[in-house]
């Protein structure tokens, strides 16, 4: 295609919406960041952020979209971390093999968790899923000859030869897998997932095989969580019982709900904000978790939908006629030309930055 037309298409699809532009800008900044700043500590924190963002997005796929609120997501993360670690140490396989193998075991675990959970609904399901990682933790301690017990399995092969290569592996994976998950939720399967969350009985009455789709969601979510678990164990070069802890189960829930649920990009954005923040708070090590938790409470108290819906509400407005999104600066809809009003001030003209009513004080 002619480059000019390509650019115009790109401008009309991406640059026209501030939300999409922000995503693009963040991706570009992350891609070129190591050119300017390659401190090992920064790269390490960001790589872990990317790995956990995959984990959070996989939680969102299962809990945000299908509504199967899982409080035991650490089971997929932990089982993949241990599988990759043991395969790497005992069989000497490289990370390129062990990480997909761990993800496949996590898919099987998705069936193990998913099949009993088909019978459960709502809160029963959340609380039952919480039990699985705890059961597995008990087994890890029981077979401590193989799993190393409290200390875990350590001395794994590195993910990549240098910190920089590990950074790019994690970055490419979070962008690629994030895109795949987003595309899954945007497809027909995603539509079915939405339908199951909104009203399972109606979905079933419409001829959808809901148990099959729920199992599919468990397996898909387990697959992506498994990849992040395998990446984590090779990145940290250790797989310990902390990968199965209750806190590991709650972390993706916190990140995703903070970022905005049922949108994949919300889960990734939430992790990108909260994980580096948690690292930054190491300046006050004793108050770190305290400040973090207090911040989460306060932010959610005032943005109950999460960060990304709040942000999109500020920079984009929905056309009242055709429901397309528009930049908040536009007076008319970019698709159908209908005049856009600010929902917060009905009857008033479109919002004009810099000319608002703040002048009077």
């Amino acid at each position: 295609m002619n480059p000019r037309r390509l650019y115009r298409r790109f401008a009309s699809e991406v640059l026209v919406l501030p939300g999409r532009t922000t995503v693009l800008a963040v991706c570009l900044v992350l891609l070129i960041l190591p050119l300017f700043h390659r401190h090992p500590y920064t790269l390490r924190v960001l790589s872990l952020t990317f790995i956990f963002a995959i984990f959070a997005a996989s939680w969102d796929l299962l809990s945000g979209f299908v509504g199967q609120l899982s409080l035991g997501h650490a089971i997929f993360f932990g089982v993949a971390a241990y599988t990759s670690a043991l395969l790497n140490l005992q069989a000497g396989l490289p990370p390129l093999v062990t990480i997909p193998a761990g993800a496949l075991v996590a898919v099987l675990m998705g069936l193990v968790v998913g099949i009993p959970c088909l019978r459960l609904k709502g809160q029963y399901l959340s609380l039952a899923t919480m039990g699985f990682p705890i059961i597995l933790t008990g087994l890890v301690y029981l077979f401590s000859d193989l799993t190393g017990g409290e200390l875990g399995v350590s001395g794994l092969a590195r993910l990549g030869p240098t910190r920089l290569s590990e950074y790019y592996i994690a970055l490419v994976l979070v962008l690629g897998l994030g895109l795949i998950m987003w595309k899954i939720t945007d497809s027909k399967v995603g539509l079915v997932f939405h339908a199951i969350r909104e009203d399972e009985i109606t979905a079933r009455a419409s001829g959808i095989n809901t148990p099959l789709y729920k199992l599919l969601a468990f397996c898909l979510s387990g697959f992506f969580a498994g990849i992040s678990g395998g990446l984590y164990s090779h990145f940290m070069r250790v797989a310990g019982p902390s990968t199965l802890s209750v806190l590991t189960s709650f972390q993706p829930v916190i990140w995703t709900i903070f970022g905005g649920v049922a949108s994949i990009y919300g889960a990734i954005a939430g992790t990108f904000v909260l994980y580096p923040l948690m690292e930054f708070l190491r300046v006050a090590p004793e108050l770190r978790t305290l400040i973090f938790a207090a911040l989460v409470v306060l932010v959610l108290r005032f943005m109950p939908e999460g960060l990304t819906p709040w942000f999109i509400d500020r920079v984009e407005s929905e056309c009242p006629r055709c429901k397309e999104h528009n930049a908040v600066t536009r007076r008319t809809c970019r698709v159908c030309g209908a005049p856009l009003g600010r929902p917060s001030a009905p009857g008033a003209g479109p919002f004009q930055p810099g000319k608002g009513g703040r002048v009077a004080g």
């Binding site: 609120l69 009993p116 019978r119 459960l120 609904k121 809160q123 029963y124 959340s126 609380l127 039952a128 919480m130 039990g131 699985f132 705890i134 059961i135 597995l136 933790t137 008990g138 087994l139 301690y141 029981l142 009203d199 009985i201 209750v246 709650f250 829930v253 916190i254 709900i257 903070f258 649920v261 004793e286 108050l287 978790t289 305290l290 973090f292 938790a293 207090a294 989460v296 409470v297 959610l300 108290r301 109950p304 939908e305």
Partner: protein, 289 residues
Amino acid sequence: MLTDILITTLINASVYAMLATGFSLIFGVARIINLAHTAFYMLAGYFIFSFTTVLGLGLLPAMLLSIALVVVIAVLSYRILIDPMREHEAAVLIITVALAMVFQELMLVFYGGHFRSVPQLVSGYVTVLGVRVSSQYVVTIGALVAILAAVWLVLMKTRLGLAIRATAQDREIANVMGMDVSLISTVTMAIASAQAAAAGALVAPLFILEPRMWLYPLTIVLAIVVLGGIGSLKGSIIASAIIALSETLVTFLLPSGAFLKGAFSLGVMIVVLLIRPEGLFGVSFEGER
């Protein structure tokens, strides 16, 4: 050994029953999953520790004072942070977890991560069926059972209890019938947190205090509530006995069983759920949306 098993089971079962009924109550009435519930239990233990060792109060006034303080904290956090968010179920979940983390970290900042202990309320021992049992155990079990019975009586025999049960059954209709559901939810929160605090206060002399002591009981309480049927008090009490017994048996009878007690209890929960998806005494609402 048999007496040990019996005593441990009774203590654990009554503590779990106290925590689980409170959790179940607040879930039924206010429709929130309060994951900070067992943090109140931890807070009560720490307050007693500070009242007795720092302020030099007697153990009994320290217990009452700390229960009152925990109730005030619980009601304030409910009114300010949780109640305005009730529409956003997921946000409530995260806020309560974060709240529990805040409490844990505050205790860590003030007291450090060391293990603390609280002096016993009564010393000596009594002889039960020819076996010597420390009086503290007997007092704890007696007090826990008495409080549970008192809560049961309040719920079943008073107008307040009737209002609480009605609100749990149908919030809208209770409101239409002229009950102040918001007030009732707050009162329920007070009762539930007082139960958690009382459980914490009573077992503080027996257990070791540490800031993360809320996490394990939380998972067990969740298992109990699911096992017994969400919102069923009778179910919660019976499930507490089942879980406490299985936990104790695993700990005492299996080698390295202490690692497996949580796993075993949760395994029991999952097996029961497979047979009865609505828990032992839960009601299934097949058509409910």
